[in-house]
């Protein structure tokens, strides 16, 4: 079963040197860190673009960058944040690092495929950024709705399509790898229902990736044909149908939200029990709610299209299906609260970010159920209300969990602790900045500010300026974080192997772990959440 992992250590390129992080490494831990660092660099790029958007919107007139560049910036902000930061990090980085540990394997099922999947990302990302400088990036938004995307400058749009195809391909390769690893590489005797919750989350996510990403790929190829070969799939002037594109696009891009959110649900299920010193509450219902979210996530896409001339019966079907996602999601949140209840909670940076995730996501979930209701959605669709809702889910939700996970697993990655006061400072800045930035946008949307505009009615100036100040705080919050992770890598307090006294298998080895994860045989962990049931050494 572990034949693929029995490579001699000497075959691993640049073993032990920092250069291995720049190599075609077959070590899942190196690949995980590659994803994490690359993703974070793109997060900084996407953040600069967000800063440009908020600078433009600090005044009601379009006066900072040209209108064309503004549309390029908002398109690239969305594309980079989704495809180069959140999806690769929450899936690729933590998935590659943790999944082999969790199933008791010494690497992923297909280490070479894994390295290929990672190395598709930097060229795609660099190509996207380069498109700014060679004739201009795509201007049609990350949704690239035709006919607009057929009429904006073709080169930028084609580069965008090519990059997203590369990133989607990388994502599919990763998804297949996760599915095979989780299903086939478990150490003998390890049952599915004994796996840490992140495995289930990644299994569900990977199923979504493998089912829906090819649809996006096909759609984008058709769009490229419309641009290059003047076919008429989506071009109404020669008989095409622009709404069909929206169906195909959202068939991927709604599940994409779960591709960004489910792994975060998995990570928070790992983090809370460790720092609350309690078993994960309701393991079985957690597993079934993940499966329910995967199923429902595939049949809700048209709720993005309530104003696209969608017939009433379809509007109703998608309202009902979407609303019901609140049920399995609600179960997960109640179970996390029950996990905290009666625990001995260490109030550190990891748990603060995780709890803030609960706060933000509950708010984003409530606005989500509201948005699912056709009559409610019709007024606020394509407004700043949706921008606020979406950022509460993917930033307030997933990005907060990425930070929580970094505070939690940094000692595992490096063998050193992060500085705790700096971490709390980072948390406070991020939490305050985030809510200042996106809270007022709910009001803006309901009162008449559409999304994707570079100018707006002067009555919205104050709220926009509050929002921009929040964005500035979010930008500043990156500084204590960067100082912390860089400084601590050399000067942080030594962590020891298991500073949190955690029970999941990645902690039952040295920190950082050896190339083949454990010096001896993989430990058999029957109770990954057995706090209070299993002896833990203080």
């Amino acid at each position: 079963m572990e034949s693929t992992t029995e490579l001699p250590v000497s075959l691993l390129p640049n073993h032990g040197s920092w250069l291995r992080y720049l190599s075609f490494s077959l070590d899942h831990k190196v690949v995980g860190i590659q994803y994490l660092v690359t993703g974070f660099l793109f997060y900084l790029v996407g953040g600069v673009l967000a800063g440009m958007i908020r600078t433009e919107l600090a005044t009601p007139i379009s006066d900072y960058i040209s209108r064309e560049v503004y549309n390029e910036v908002l398109t690239m902000h969305g594309t980079i944040m989704i495809f180069l930061w959140i999806v690769p990090v929450v899936n690729g980085a933590f998935g590659n690092y943790l999944i082999p540990f969790y199933v008791g394997a010494r690497d992923m099922a297909f280490p070479r495929l894994n390295a290929v999947a990672f190395w598709m990302i930097p060229p795609a990302g660099l190509l996207l950024i380069a498109s700014f400088f060679i004739g201009g990036a795509s201007q049609s938004g990350w949704t690239a709705y035709p006919p607009l995307s057929l009429r904006t400058p073709a080169l930028g749009q084609l580069i965008w399509i090519f990059s997203v195809l590369l990133l989607g391909g990388s994502s599919i390769l990763g998804g297949i790898n996760f599915i095979v690893t989780i299903l086939k590489l478990r150490r003998p005797g390890l049952k599915m229902m004994q796996l840490p919750m992140y495995c289930w989350a990644m299994l569900g996510t990977s199923v979504l990736v493998v089912l829906s990403t090819p649809v996006l790929a096909g759609t984008l190829v058709m769009l490229a044909f419309d641009i290059v070969a003047h076919t008429g799939f989506f071009n109404p002037t020669i008989g095409g149908n622009a709404v069909v594109y929206q169906h195909l696009f959202w068939f991927y891009s709604h599940p994409a939200v779960y591709i960004m959110v489910l792994p975060a649900f998995g990570l928070v299920s790992e983090i809370l029990p460790v720092h609350a010193r309690k078993p994960l509450f309701g393991y079985t219902t957690m597993v079934y709610s993940i499966l329910a979210i995967v199923f429902l996530g595939l049949i809700v896409w048209a709720h993005h299209m309530f104003t696209s001339g969608t017939p009433p019966w379809m509007r109703l079907f998608f309202t009902i299906a979407t609303s019901f996602i609140a049920v399995p999601t609600g179960i997960k949140f109640f179970n996390w609260l029950a996990t905290l209840w009666g625990g001995k909670i260490a109030l550190n940076s990891a748990i603060l970010f995780a709890c803030a995730f609960i706060v933000n996501f509950v708010l984003g979930g409530i606005t989500g159920v509201a948005l699912a209701q056709v009559p409610f959605d019709i007024h606020v669709h394509d407004t700043y209300f949706v921008v606020a809702h979406f950022h509460y889910i993917v930033y307030g939700g997933t990005v907060f969990i990425i930070f929580s996970a970094i505070y939690h697993w940094y000692p595992k990655f490096t063998g050193r602790m992060l500085n705790e006061p700096l971490g709390v400072f980072h948390f406070v800045l991020t939490f305050v900045g985030f809510n200042l930035c996106f809270g007022p946008q709910h009001w803006l949307g309901m009162n008449g500010m559409p999304r994707r505009v570079s100018e707006y009615d002067p009555q919205f100036t104050l709220m926009n300026q509050i929002s921009s100040v929040g964005a500035l705080l979010m930008a500043l919050s990156t500084l204590p974080f960067l100082i912390n992770v860089i400084h601590s890598a050399w000067h942080g307090r030594l962590a020891g192997d298991n500073p949190w006294r955690a029970l999941t298998p990645e902690w039952l080895t040295s920190s950082p772990p050896p190339v083949e994860n454990w010096a001896g045989p993989a430990p058999h962990v029957e109770h990954p959440y057995g706090y209070g049931l299993v002896e833990t050494t203080p």
């Binding site: 607009l148 009429r151 609260l337 709890c355 409610f376 008449g448």
Partner: protein, 263 residues
């Protein structure tokens, strides 16, 4: 007992907050009060859930925080089936209620009209330029009745053009009479746009190759913004105009004044 009191308190707070919340723009159409009723109910429920969950979270963080030097574990509770059933049931009931309620709202807004009655589709004359075989319905205010006023809307980068078949008026602004059902027959020739009047609480995309209809009844004289809500190019943010709601007399005056003389 405490649980019961806290729950009752939460429900009361939710109801009060929901009734008092004032976050939406002026109501200027028959749809708007219906919409705002839905908003209040959703806001009430949202407040209850949000405060309940956040309260529970903050209470846990304070009450169950680790004391210095305590390296023990919490209670080894792995689950509680009745409890889990309860909190599966709570969101299920809430979602069912919200779904049924919003269906009711949707029907009152006339959203089901094209399904119940094909008058909206039939009211499109076959000779309408640019219309295909099929017409895509938006929300209509009064189901089953034909409109008092029909206006053809053409959206293009970056303007709306309104054409009144009766009187043959072409205008960059939309003028409508108060209290009468207006039907907009909308088409676009370049890219997708959207017609949005926040004070009417209605929005409908205008899609090339696929004419759409939108009906509404304005009931408050005044001037309100018409905003394009779908990214349509560099000047998307500037694609806006006004709808002027007149009382009947003023509207007739406007019609006569702007009708081009017959030659």
């Amino acid at each position: 007992m405490i649980t019961f009191l806290v729950s009752v308190g939460l429900i009361l707070i939710g109801l009060v907050v929901g009734q008092r919340v004032d976050m939406l723009p002026l109501q200027a159409s028959v749809n708007a009060p219906v919409y705002d009723e839905l908003f209040r109910v959703l806001f009430s429920i949202g407040t209850m859930l949000f405060l309940g969950i956040i309260g529970l979270l903050l209470y846990s963080l304070v009450r169950f925080r680790r004391q210095a030097g305590d390296f023990g574990d919490g209670a080894a509770v792995e689950g509680n089936l009745p409890l889990e059933i309860v909190w599966t049931a709570i969101p299920a009931v809430v979602v069912l209620f919200v779904g049924l309620y919003s269906y009711n709202i949707y029907e009152r807004m006339g959203g089901m009209a094209p399904l119940a009655d094909h008058s909206v589709m039939h009211s499109m004359p076959a000779s309408d330029p640019g219309s295909g075989d099929r017409v895509w319905g938006g929300i209509s205010t009064v189901s089953g009745e034909s409109a008092d006023l029909t206006v053809d809307v053409t959206a293009l980068q970056f303007a709306f053009i309104f054409h009144y078949p009766t009187g043959n008026i072409t205008s960059g602004e939309l003028h409508v009479p108060e209290g009468e059902k207006v039907e907009l027959r909308m088409k676009a020739n370049d890219v997708i746009h959207a017609f949005w009047v926040p004070q009417f609480r209605i929005k409908q995309d205008i899609i090339p190759g696929q004419p759409t209809v939108l009906t509404f009844t304005a009931n408050r004289p005044g001037t309100y913004p018409i905003i394009c809500a779908e990214l349509c190019g560099p000047y998307h943010g500037g694609m806006r105009t006004s709808v002027v709601v007149h009382d009947r007399g003023d509207f007739d005056q406007w019609l006569t004044k702007n009708t081009p003389p017959v030659t």
